[in-house]
Symmetry: C2
Subunit: 339 residues, 2 copies
Amino acid sequence: MKKINFAIVGATGAVGRKVLEILNEQKDFLPIEDIKLLASDKSAGTKLYFNSKELTVERADSESFNDVDIAIFCAGSDVSIKLAPEAVKKGTIVIDNSSAFRMQKEVPLIIPEVNPDEIKKHKGIIANPNCSTIQMVVALKPIYDLAGIKRIIASTFQSVSGTGIEAVEELKNQSAQIISGQEVECKVYPYQIAFNVLPHIDEFDEMGNTKEELKLINETKKILNDWDINITATAVRVPVIIGHSESVYIETVEKTTVAEVREALSKAPGVIIYDKPSQKQYPLPIDVAGKNEVFVGRIREDISVENGLNLWIVADNLRKGAAYNALQISKYIVENNLV
Amino acid sequence: MKKINFAIVGATGAVGRKVLEILNEQKDFLPIEDIKLLASDKSAGTKLYFNSKELTVERADSESFNDVDIAIFCAGSDVSIKLAPEAVKKGTIVIDNSSAFRMQKEVPLIIPEVNPDEIKKHKGIIANPNCSTIQMVVALKPIYDLAGIKRIIASTFQSVSGTGIEAVEELKNQSAQIISGQEVECKVYPYQIAFNVLPHIDEFDEMGNTKEELKLINETKKILNDWDINITATAVRVPVIIGHSESVYIETVEKTTVAEVREALSKAPGVIIYDKPSQKQYPLPIDVAGKNEVFVGRIREDISVENGLNLWIVADNLRKGAAYNALQISKYIVENNLV
């Protein structure tokens, strides 16, 4: 297998650091010849470790991608829009974690457990789906294959690390401020997030949906390549550090049973069933933090209708929801000699 | 209007204290001649204030209800099952906040904004619905009257004060422990609640539903007196101190519009629309804590289906979800000379 030159754009952010953390944990995950850590002017000069060697983060610009085979972009849409096309010009395959290119027709939107074959169709940029989409679709794909899905109604419980490192600090600071009776400072979120929930992630459109909700709806349809599923969503930020949880109601096309769904999920790649309510066993964000799989519990039939099912889906939003999914795409590229 | 002898059973608990707090805030809410504060052996002797007078909490037993006109029970199902029938024997009207009698056919289950006329049918016990039911049904009743409702899918974000004072302490203690890097102690909940969410409120049944979810389903049907609505729910505990939030999807029988729904809600008693997303205006638990109304925001059409609507419903679970609703029932009884 060819050894690759690898780059992380946004290496000092929450997702960038997680990419490096996973590579340090799993030394043989990718055959890396050389790794380049890139970030904004502000963060250039930061020291980070790869394979016990200290590396200096460099300023990302259009010249950064000479000889880079694969670059994971996790520095936000603005940086991706500016630099991803430049990287592609240099022959780099870009795996983009921002929402900038996800819905473009020629850009594959990939969850390796779900639609890996689409990777081959890339024209330089491959999009990593949104965190809340990835975990939901990993859990729903086996059910989709089993019985079809015609309806999805999702409410999310999303952790602050999805916003970034500064949001994690804000949650911790505000919690300490409230416990000690001090005034609460809000910088990252419009309102206090400690001991509160905010039904507001990303911007609102004219219909009153947030972009986060629309991402979940549209990306799910694109990844499953099924534009007929009727999906609605409510995305909520909760005072959790790492780990997104989702309360997902679905209606299948064909009648199925909880037993059949469990059977399908138990065989599915990247899914762990954690569902013994009588033993108080159900997925929790604090437990899945640090794990690369998607955890599914509270699998229940909704007996009030035909073909209704409830699921509780939890995953580490920085890992499977971002860094790990991007690394799985990288691995697929290398293993299939696409680089 | 007749002056009443009033009692609070469970006066030292989270809801009991809130009943007293509201009566102290609104001196003329009820024409109270005398008030009796009752609790378990353990809490008897506690000093509490009513109208600036210090009162001593007495031990609740079957003799406590001589000359009591109305007693609000908020000490849990065990106490209600034991003492409510005793109180009724003495001629006391019991407003019971526990789940013990709610689904009994001869016991009215009351939200004063929704089904006040049922109060007159009582045979001694009137049940106060569960906190999550009350706020949802207050918000849905105007829509039910406008266009009918055939489907409800609810996910809840419930605060720890619903569990009790000791749960509030646990959340604060655990938050402080985590921030300072200490071990976390779990006494009230089976798992850490700080910086976490628990899809587990009350016990599980064999189908995998919790009693909390079944309460929301069954109580809603009883209060609306409509057993044909198809309801499913997922109840989740979140690290919020006061204020339950609910992500509620509904399907109406008749076609309606967001504008019509807003119009209906704006005229509805006990409901406040707080819904200007472009101005970052939506209900938050930290904002509704201390308020007696139900707040509704994020009112959106689900354009993927016919007659689908999403709502975000937030209320103070100790006030409208418990103490205030029970006091409204008391007020109705007094004003209608039922005592």
